[in-house]
């Protein structure tokens, strides 16, 4: 009986992993480019939001994503609300995919991810360049989208492992 009520450290770690990683990422503005390789950059937050809102939305709420977007905008210095809007668009695509998918398939998810990031980056460029007249480098956006797409499988494996742990802990 006591084991049923016991909350282990690992279960807390796994259940708060998505939200903690999201906020640490926006506060740190991770680009994982510690070697300063020219042109290399990818959007870790897009991968994180896409995966968790698709596979286990209970551990990454929409309000947290909205707030994370606001923080991201303040830190990188773009008009407030742009990132929140982009992140919530990812959520809407994943919510739609979740509703129409009976048997999840990695390739379908990966291709949907490509479509989603192309869509949101295009919207972001339109908002920044045409509405707010902030000059942006289209090539950087395209390269960033490419690397984000390429790195999705890698993080899919990692997040899937953590997600399995969360599900096991919940059913324990």
């Amino acid at each position: 009986m006591s084991s049923l009520n016991k909350i282990s450290l690992s279960s807390v770690f796994f259940s708060y992993f998505p939200i903690a990683t999201l906020f640490i990422s926006v506060f740190n503005e991770f680009d994982f480019n510690f070697l300063n390789i020219q042109y290399f950059s990818f959007n870790f937050i897009h991968i994180l939001i896409f995966f968790w809102t698709l596979k286990n939305p209970n551990h990454l709420g929409y309000v947290s994503i909205f707030i994370a977007g606001i923080i991201n905008d303040v830190i990188i210095g773009i008009p407030i609300g742009v990132s929140s809007f982009s992140y919530l668009l990812i959520c809407s695509v994943t919510a739609y995919i979740r509703n129409i998918t009976l048997s999840p398939n990695f390739i379908n998810d990966w291709l949907s991810f490509l479509f989603t990031i192309l869509l949101i980056n295009s919207i972001q460029v339109i908002i920044l360049d045409l509405v707010f007249l902030i000059e942006v480098n289209y090539m950087n956006f395209l390269i960033n989208t490419g690397f984000t797409f390429i790195f999705y499988p890698l993080f899919f494996i990692l997040f899937n492992y953590i997600n399995t742990k969360i599900i096991i802990k919940l059913n324990d």
Binding site: D31, V63, V74, I78, P79, I80, S92, V131, N137
Partner: protein, 282 residues
Amino acid sequence: MATGRDDFVIAFRSAFLKKKDKQKFSLLTLIFLSIFVIILSNFDFKIIKIIKLGINEVVYRSSFLVSIPENKITKTKIQIESHMEVYDNYKNLELELEILKQKKLSNNFLKLENDKLRKLINESIESNEILAKVLIDKESPFLKSIILNKGTKDKIKIGMAVVDEVYLVGKIIEVNYTNSRALLLSDLNSKIPVLLEPLGIQAVASGTGKEYGEIQYTKEEYKNKIKTNEIAVYTSGLGGLFKPGVPVGKISKENINRVNFFSDFRQLEYVKIFSYNIDSKY
């Protein structure tokens, strides 16, 4: 056909309007809220300005605290690298020091001469410097800027120049109560009037979004002259934004449109923010 449409409508309604047990707002509400925030941030109302300042203050301080572990790792990496290269660096520095000693003597003479000439035309340049710590230097792939720990309470104003030692790194574009944001010279939106010396040609140094800048809007003939000369880029002082003669970078002979900045923007820790005032009686 009708079934397919119904399925789409059901999936759409479920995705956008349905709330889970723990969620307080539907996705559609939050999307509309973010659009509302984007529109609001476009207006210049006083209340919006105050809210923005409040958010900036809290977020910048929090980001500084959250970034401490990552900054420690980056610093350690840089320290290890510099330790590995210490002997080579020492030899190079010895050579450089000798050259600099010689140059300093002639510079002292030029400075005195310059001061005398300024006195002759009753012109004096006064500048105020404020030392600031870099709180956040997370450059996004799209915007290059840094957050400094000085704001309106330290009399920082938009447009003030930011220098690393003596080298220009950018200008202030946003000021909050205790902190401010500086746009780096490498940002695509940065454009500053410069002077190409010793040719004496006016130009505009523009950011490229990469680690170097680019020379724009200048005479075509400079391209021929540059092949034989080593060109240094200084602020021209045109437009009254920056003090004239602040070193910006160097133009390499290999790529005559590229400005290699003197300062390394990835390793800024402390910078000086300064304003200047030229007094002239003529």
